[in-house]
Symmetry: C2
Amino acid sequence: MKITIKPERPGGFLDFNPGEFLARERMLNIINQVFRSFGYNPIETPMVEFAKVLTGADETSKNIFQVRSRGSNNEDSLALRFDHTVPLARFLSANPGIKLPWRRMVVGPVFRSDSPQKGRYRQFYQFDVDIAGCALMLADAEIIAIMYETLRALGLERFIIKINNRKILNGLADLLGITDRQKITAADVTKEVMRILDKIPKIGIAAVFDELRQEPVTEFDPSPGLTEANLIRLQEYLEISGDNLTKISQAQKLFQHISIAEEGLAELVEIMKYLEPLAIPTAAVEIDFSVARGLDYYTGPVFETFLFDAPEFGSVFSGGRYNDLVARFTGRELPAVGASIGVDRLFSALQQLGTLKIEKKSVSEILILRLTTDQDAYYLRLANRLRKTGLKVEVSLLEDTTFKAQFNFAVSQGVNYVIIIGRDELNQQTVKIKNLFTRRQEEIPITKLISYFQTITKIP
Amino acid sequence: MKITIKPERPGGFLDFNPGEFLARERMLNIINQVFRSFGYNPIETPMVEFAKVLTGADETSKNIFQVRSRGSNNEDSLALRFDHTVPLARFLSANPGIKLPWRRMVVGPVFRSDSPQKGRYRQFYQFDVDIAGCALMLADAEIIAIMYETLRALGLERFIIKINNRKILNGLADLLGITDRQKITAADVTKEVMRILDKIPKIGIAAVFDELRQEPVTEFDPSPGLTEANLIRLQEYLEISGDNLTKISQAQKLFQHISIAEEGLAELVEIMKYLEPLAIPTAAVEIDFSVARGLDYYTGPVFETFLFDAPEFGSVFSGGRYNDLVARFTGRELPAVGASIGVDRLFSALQQLGTLKIEKKSVSEILILRLTTDQDAYYLRLANRLRKTGLKVEVSLLEDTTFKAQFNFAVSQGVNYVIIIGRDELNQQTVKIKNLFTRRQEEIPITKLISYFQTITKIP
């Protein structure tokens, strides 16, 4: 007797059973169709890349899975991709012949080694849409239009696309006097500002302000925190409110002469201008100066999408402009903008909202009962002929060939029709067809069987 | 200036550009359709599994990629799946509620850490079809029918499905007196017989026979090689020829009273009986007693498929019966049979044969030139309206907005139509449509644009 192994699956990695698979497939098909309607071209890149390609030689990237051949000591290490954006940058750099601007889409699993928790997986699908080689805000507006059209096509109405601009966050650092004090990179500064904004919903404004008063703002910064004057400016920034135009004009006042922020605001204004011709309702897009996006590579507008009736899922469709990422490989800037659907997260949200239902447990439409096993050839021939007309047909393979066992099996599979041919039907050259939804049963001549199903335009 | 990173891809891992992706998608859709027509249910399992689940605690499995969190010392190791069959066994064991027999299909990447070489990848897609919980040879015949129908649906005619039975190889070990001599497992014996059969095409019968005369047959075996009487039997086995029925009757004579082989032969006879009702031509299936299949887990019939006009790709669709695999997890046998398409290998073969062509480089059907940039809203509105009719439409995002640059871009993308609206057309409320295939250009009132494309039933 062999030792058995537990049939365990590692935490954070999912299986999809047929019902889940088919519902997810419907969702992916809709997304696919919308992305392609905008002319986006599908590509595929491998799950595994060189680690240095993925991290940009940043040793602090902790949530990456390393991949090694068993028994190999080779540390020229491979890793599982954590998103589709970095592989896109690698792909673009490796294929200089691609005609720009290039609209591309990609779907597939990405991997993060975070400890798994509810709604956060270690393997999850992302469905991405990006335009490379275009600096025009028209491209950013198009990405927002795709986000809007996709969620509408998925049957959603109550959602909001929030937009901001990393340039405004850079300007905020300026405004708060952070950039002047130390020779730290723009990215570092933005990171610190993001850290501040991120803390506010967690510990409250007052506590954040206390910290900012007492502690150095950045780890590079030996001096104490922000001055009261700077804190007042931060407060003004946080208090910006009203409709999109009001917010913009308040921000323009606050950021006067801080050119990077002014540029960021002008970009948002331009994007807003394109929404009406793209048939996006004003209410669907909101400027929100607290939106930052976690990933480091964004350089311009950033987007997040929240479902009003399922806010606990966080942003289900997010993205932004990243003009520097390709430079990691080529040394030259290549403007790019895109967005990514968290497929598994959105799938869970759609199920919770009842917008996407798990319907059938089986793809099969017809089950032919095998009632008279010396007639196997007959059943096989019949199944074969029905399949040729485009129907999905199984012959029962239950070892228990009683009517009851096979009929119950058909019900459990959720097939639409059962075909019953026993000794009697064989003698009379007939066939019984039972519709498992209406429970109606008909007996027809075997010669009419094909045409019987052809008159049913669509099996439910 | 930052240090740039080489945009390299690790060896054995592929990218698919849009042309390749779309051709591959057509192929996968056809396979999908055939598998579903037989009522097979799609599932998905993760890329990553516990290593012990994949290998059955067999430490000799060398071509497996290990997966580790960066900086983790945890050796409860994860690994990338190397096929879909072992994850299916894990899935079945973890879901005892599944109604058997269960027809399931699955497609996705699998990973092997073999050193990459021409036509052998380290990540490659397998498209699998399996029946779990059915011991009837009807199931094996159905798998063969699916193999046949799939390759036909892909446009292939000149191929052969070769079948054998592991039970016959077990019987061969008996016949050669290998099993009697040592207490080694049936699997070990079969492995040794497979090793012998495998060597013949490489070094020739004479050399293999010399080895068998002089060296211990198995590593567990201290005694010298096969006796001359046994070698004569092996020769008889290897010389079996003729049509399928002739081969069977020759083998029956050779294996008289070796019950395991007789059982294997009877199974092949039963499978052959079902081929005619399944509409599979006799010539498409050949019994070949030298077929073994590399993987250890097969226990009954095994199948391989070769393309007459592209034999260098090896078997493109292979499988067999594996009744013991689920026992790894549950301790109980669960009969199962299935087959797997080597998608990337078959894709290469179909391209070489000219059966599958890479056609379009872009999914886009229509490109709207952006000739008058102060009319962006007009172009966006138009694109949006055309998309709502189901067309795939891009607005040009080239920064060079001359007619020539944008037109050349359209040609390079392979779109079907270019929509030209400049100052003149705006004034006259017309639109020029240029068909890039026929090179014909028409000018119509803008109000007729939607109906113009609606009359074209299908864009080429």
